[in-house]
Homo-oligomer: 348 residues x 2
């Protein structure tokens, strides 16, 4: 599998990277032949946009893209054009370095999960910004910022009594990179963190105990906040439904930086509308973009981020760090980092 000492390794750049990052990839090894045609790639709408607006390409241009795909041994990101056809359009392809962490649903939808291609994720890149988003979201609600903004709109200086985040109890579902970073942040602020994981084991730093996903109900009545950080998988699909929300105490807060499908959104909306939940901070929703008529848009105690809390201005450089590490390992025949584990992918 490892290319010989003079065999070229064709590396396709399938989502836009600036010249500086492309050079870093090129410089990993003399055997690397970068296939980079930025004029064919979707145009990023913001820094580190891995989807971008598709160009209106001519037949000739599309044919050129197909030629590049046909040559690729390795790809940085998936084919933006016909991702589900990757097995036929890129017959030499052995490995894709994804630019996101949660690719299980995508691989399932495209059927690529059943291919022999190795997939590596961007896991880890998003842990700090997502943990910061979680901390911000909890403080936003605990410190009653919506009330403060309401007073500001009325030019009203009216004193109030506030609550402390310190001493609150949070259940963090998912003990991967993101959940562990969330636990570090929250515990540093005095929050008592319980973890939940498909495979509970020794609690990571900042976590009191870790329970199994099947034991959530033993913890839900005693928390002030639920933070979802798990991958979307068969075991987390609609993990939080009406019964789980009901089991949480009145006033409990929900933060979701996992995937929208981890919560039953209808039940979430009902629990917000009844006043059972104290608020929700959502970077992800069941159907994205969130439909214009969703009642979530207009709630004062809800904060919506359009699936962007993980996207940092300098994120491409950090993903290329992972890719460069992996290219070095690939060329040496070593195990890659961040390999996507198919075992827990969404199947239902």
């Amino acid at each position: 599998l490892t290319p010989g000492p003079t065999d070229p390794l064709h590396v396709l750049i399938a989502s836009y990277l600036d010249e500086r990052e492309v050079r870093r990839i090129e410089q990993v090894d003399p055997r690397i032949r970068v296939l980079n045609a930025p004029e064919l790639l979707p145009i990023p709408r913001y820094a580190a946009d891995h989807n971008g607006s598709h160009r209106a390409l001519s037949e000739t241009e599309l044919a050129k893209w197909q030629d590049l795909l046909a040559l690729a041994d390795v790809s940085y990101d998936f084919d933006w054009h016909r991702p589900a056809d990757l097995l036929s359009t890129a017959p030499k392809l052995r490995w894709v370095q994804a630019t996101s962490s949660g690719i299980g649903e995508f691989l399932t939808d495209t059927g690529l999960i059943n291919s022999g291609i190795t997939f590596t994720t961007a896991a880890g890149v998003h842990a700090v910004p997502l943990a910061e988003f979680v901390t911000m979201g909890l403080l936003y609600l605990v410190k009653e910022v919506p009330m403060l903004r309401g007073q500001m709109r009325r030019h009203l200086w009216e004193r109030y009594t506030t609550h402390s985040l310190a001493g609150k109890r949070a259940l963090v579902v998912g003990m991967g990179n993101v959940g562990r970073q969330v636990a570090l942040h929250l515990s540093a602020l005095g929050v008592h963190v319980t973890g939940a994981s498909r495979t509970p084991g020794t609690p990571p730093p900042g976590v009191g105990t870790v329970v199994a996903l099947s034991e959530l109900h033993s913890v839900l009545p005693d928390i002030d906040a639920l933070v979802l950080c798990s991958p979307l998988s068969a075991s987390t699909y609609r993990l939080i439904g009406a019964a789980e929300l009901e089991a949480m105490p009145r006033g409990c807060l929900v933060v979701n930086v996992a995937r929208g499908q981890v919560i039953d959104e209808t039940a979430l909306i009902a629990a917000l509308e009844s006043g059972h939940l104290g608020g929700a901070v959502l970077d992800v929703v069941e159907s994205e973009p969130l439909p214009g008529d969703s009642p979530l848009w207009d709630r004062e105690n809800v904060l919506i981020s359009p699936h962007s809390a993980s996207t940092l201005v300098d994120e491409n450089a950090r993903i290329v760090d992972i890719f460069v590490t992996n290219l070095t390992r690939w060329l040496r025949g070593e195990t890659l980092v961040n390999v996507f584990a198919r075992t827990d992918a969404l199947t239902g």
Copy 2:
């Protein structure tokens, strides 16, 4: 000074405490005679309101209050009625346990600073809630919550690229209880913290270096956020003016949990309006309540809290903790904790 083994110690309750807290004070020592007339005290407008709405008291009721003052050896909080006359109305008074941390301005304004009375403060009680407010405020601006709320108002799902608080550089002015707690919180989130203090010394945990207040200009050009946590004193009055704001990089954030007078508010508003500052989070303003026509009310990148960020629902219990400790020490003739240091009080 210490009462003899049978001498009574008259302890006046001068701001409302619930019965449970009054009992804790009473139970410190058999010599304690609590003077508690809640029916005469201002009515708290919110939990742990230490000012409250004044009652319309009859002459007889006011005379009763004067009688209690005249008996008091020790007072929990200042006289709500005629605080500046305390020396004549409470001639036996030796010690006042205040319910706030920043009492320098009040003591100066009332002239009590020149009395022989010992004052102890509530310092420490407010450190965690204020540090949480600071962390919330920085995350609120760094994570662009005002933009997110704007998108929500328009039901707009438009992805964006965000910034990380980790890696940013903050200058925390004031290395007392609040500043040290702020440094602990921010450094745990990966912020590089520099401190500034009237008396720089060994940096406390979470702080890289501590500079003198006179050396601020050496630090200001290299920060992303300025956090004011100092007491108001002669050395911090209008510490931050137009020149200091100008020295900070474009986009810099300002958080003030100290006193409004530490910043020149006109210069602050100008720096916000010109776009030089990226935003401000203010628990305090120069003149409180903030005047209805202040331009601060309507700015998207400003968050105003009506001097309440330190006020916790259970704050009275925490202040009574300090008072109970101090009563024990007072009766034993030991040094009190949280004694107000007159040396740095506001004189100009």
